[in-house]
Amino acid sequence: MSVSKGGLKRKSKASSEIPSSSLADMAFLLLIFFMVSTTFKKEKTRTYEPPQAEATQKREEPRKDVLHVYVERDGGIYINDQLLQLDQVSNVVAPLYEENRSMIVQLRADREVPYATVDQLQKEFQQAGAIRMVFYTELEQRATRERR
């Protein structure tokens, strides 16, 4: 039954090369897909160092429901790239909360900011009606804590 010894071996005409002509198309397709689907932050990057916490949890709210309130180390308060005084915060937050009732305020404050500022901000949020808030923190590993 052995055919190969009988000289009947058929010559395979299939090309031994991997077809690479469509590889470029695939790669560009992926590239363009990621370029189009990437959303960029609307706000300018602020310099602040968030505090660390072990209980940090990932938030699943859609981005449009999150209002970022930045407090830099020097005490400057920014909402939507606008520098605000402490007592103006509720006036700015209130109309935004009226527009979107499921809004959550995310406080991105520097770890060295005196607590008085943070307390005053909470009162401003309360006054604006935005009572759900998140203290933005970085996840702290247990090992880092023990070294401290």
């Binding site: 590889l23 470029a24 916490a53 995310q106 770890r111 607590y115 009572i131 203290f135 970085e138």
Partner: protein, 140 residues
């Protein structure tokens, strides 16, 4: 002279073999350099404005965060004050909450204390499963 003309036969095709490499290189470059801005943190629901709730002193554990980061713990009505480091708050809460399930944590932070000391305490409380937390400013 015409016979001596060298025959130049440049290939008519655009070389496409390296195109895939270029495209993948770009793809990998952008994948690596992209940083995602995660939404994360510790959530708290603030009380509504002008809504004061009377709570019995025996259901309250006072955690007073000092300027130096130490926490003075005062349980309910007992006048005793215990000064601890913020890392110990979690176990203190677990013990106290096991004895009294209606316990409320009142975190009072000194106005001049850095924000991160309050977060340390809040972190410990949330890590220990506390859900009734009140944040206030410490009045001298």
């Amino acid at each position: 002279m015409a016979l001596m003309r060298k025959k130049n036969k440049p290939s008519g095709d655009i070389p496409t073999s390296s195109m895939a490499d270029i495209a993948f290189l770009l793809l990998i470059f952008f994948l690596v350099t992209t940083v995602f801005d995660e939404e994360k943190g510790l959530e708290i629901v603030l009380p509504e404005q002008d809504s004061e709730v009377e709570v019995s002193q025996k259901n309250v554990i006072h955690l007073m965060v000092q300027v130096d980061g130490l926490v003075a713990v005062k349980r309910g009505e007992s006048p005793q004050v215990q000064r601890v480091r913020s890392q110990e708050i979690g176990s203190i809460w677990r013990q106290a909450a096991a004895a009294n399930p209606n316990l409320i944590a009142a975190v009072k932070t000194a106005p001049a204390a850095p924000y991160r000391y309050m977060i340390d305490v809040l972190d410990q409380l949330q890590g220990a499963g506390a859900d009734k937390i009140s944040l206030q400013v410490l009045e001298e």
